[in-house]
Symmetry: C2
Subunit: 306 residues, 2 copies
């Protein structure tokens, strides 16, 4: 069963792997080299799909200094077309809708082959941002221009922890055409469980079927990476932070936490009857961290009910 | 090895069972009957010790309406002396120090046999309360009058979640003579892990040995009991609340959660090298809830490394 079927039939239990496109300044030769290495590393993994992120500055969403400098990256659609065209499974291309004009977005959406491409629309990171196309307008465009293209939305447990209404946002996005959701990196399993639980019971009350929620996991090789995750708005429980700070090998310790949290969420979702997918990303370009992410994906893949 | 030895040798892995004394209006005959039933129910459990709570109104700590009316209970020391004197293991008698004059407290502390009695001092629930003896003064009295009497303090993960400094309070209490800590009922395992972790690393930084932390668990037979726990300041994660609200048998579901949380904390403490005990209490006087607590205690007892 392919990824789209697993999503529309509400089966879940699929595995994705997420990549950040190379930096904008990368030469075409170097970009192809990176793509080739990616192919090689992921070939034996048997993922159901790939995710390509659309990186935004996001400096306006957090007044504190960014722990890593922002380096613009290639447009994920361009990177895919030019360097990853031969990739054999469906690819989920993120679109930060505020960056694109309506015309550009319409054209891109219209030209996608729904059998091989999917998308996730992400709204503006903050209210102050200049917005070329709103999330809502982008959702309408997809429904008009290419309704077969499977649309996903982002699910943010941290927002649920602060405001308690993220499950209602998910339901609204579902009504606007979203067939699945993807979380940001999850370190706080408790927060994710709160969101899944509220979403499951909200769906039950409305007579809706819950759609798959894809939970994202990742290793974290250093305290600086952890600080960057925090800057991006990821809740990292104190006990996990302490563990990473005192670990001989923080990357290894973070992978153990990621695996434990993933397994807990998987069993929780099955128990509640909410379909789910697993997404593993590498937040860094360090070789050790990328390989660690591949190992994490392998371990989690073996736990999926296929 | 008896309870006191397990505590002072920092071994942990012990089981306590906590009782609330009967209402103040109970006749001596009825109180004896309750005590006899308690004996009978707990006889086969093989607990290492009993806890008797000292119930305070606490209306001043929360302006919202108390879900259950406050009914004054017998003084735990009186109840013990009059009706549970034959109990074979050590008994931990709570003392809400604000309720007692210095003279009364000094006399009570001085008359306790440290081989058979222990105590936990609890400070005033709010700053506005009239205080006959402060927690600090009570700690000094114990050190002067009966330093062999093992003193415990309360550990409140919820305060750590709000303020982030509960681990420093634990260290200060330890320096004031506390040989162990007892938590209130734990539903938020994540909050408890944050506290244990910060406490463990604080001890390591100061060259202190962490002392046993006793985690308290309990069934919760109804949403009203859950609301009462919240009123008392216990954090109950949304996903657990949802589960209890939708369970055919909330008591059963709550026991499963309590067991899962206890096992998680036990393995976390062993991993971190923090000694721990388990305390099971029954927050209600309903027969089904008391029996459920006894079953929970049995199950957890079998998981302790003895």
């Amino acid at each position: 069963m392919d990824l789209q079927q697993r999503i529309v039939s509400l089966q879940g239990e699929f595995l994705l792997f997420a990549l950040t496109p190379p930096r904008l300044a990368t030469t075409p030769e170097k970009a192809q080299e990176i793509a080739d290495i990616t192919f090689e590393r992921l070939a034996s993994l048997g993922v159901d799909g790939l995710i390509l992120y659309d990186i935004d500055d996001e400096a306006d969403r957090n007044p504190e200094e960014r722990p890593f400098p922002f380096l613009p990256t290639m447009d994920p659609a361009d990177y895919l077309e030019r360097h990853l065209e031969a990739w054999p499974t469906p690819v989920v291309v993120y679109r930060a809708t505020a960056k694109y004009t309506e015309r550009d977005l319409r054209e891109w959406v219209g030209s996608q082959d729904a059998a091989r491409r999917m998308t996730v629309f992400v709204g503006a990171a903050s209210r102050g941002k200049r917005v070329a196309t709103t999330l809502r307008r982008a959702q309408q465009l997809r429904a008009e221009v290419n309704p077969d293209l499977l649309l996903g939305g982002v699910a943010i447990p941290e927002r649920h922890t602060r405001k308690g209404d993220e499950h209602l946002r998910l339901v609204a996005k579902q009504e606007a055409g979203c067939a699945y959701f993807v979380s940001q990196v999850v370190y706080d399993g408790n927060g994710a469980k709160n969101l899944v639980s509220d979403y499951a019971y909200e769906c039950r009350d409305r007579g809706l079927d819950p759609v798959p929620i894809v939970f994202t996991f990742s290793g974290c090789g250093s305290i600086k990476t952890l600080e960057f995750l925090r800057w991006l708005g990821v809740d990292v429980p104190r006990w996990i932070e302490n563990d990473l700070r005192h670990a001989d090998d923080p990357l290894d310790a973070s992978l153990e936490h990621a695996e434990a949290t993933a397994l807990e969420l998987m069993s929780f979702c099955r128990h509640l009857g909410v379909p789910f997918g697993i997404n593993v990303e590498s937040v860094s370009i360090r070789k050790a961290e990328i390989e660690a992410s591949v190992h994490l994906a392998e371990r989690l893949r073996s736990k999926l009910a296929r």
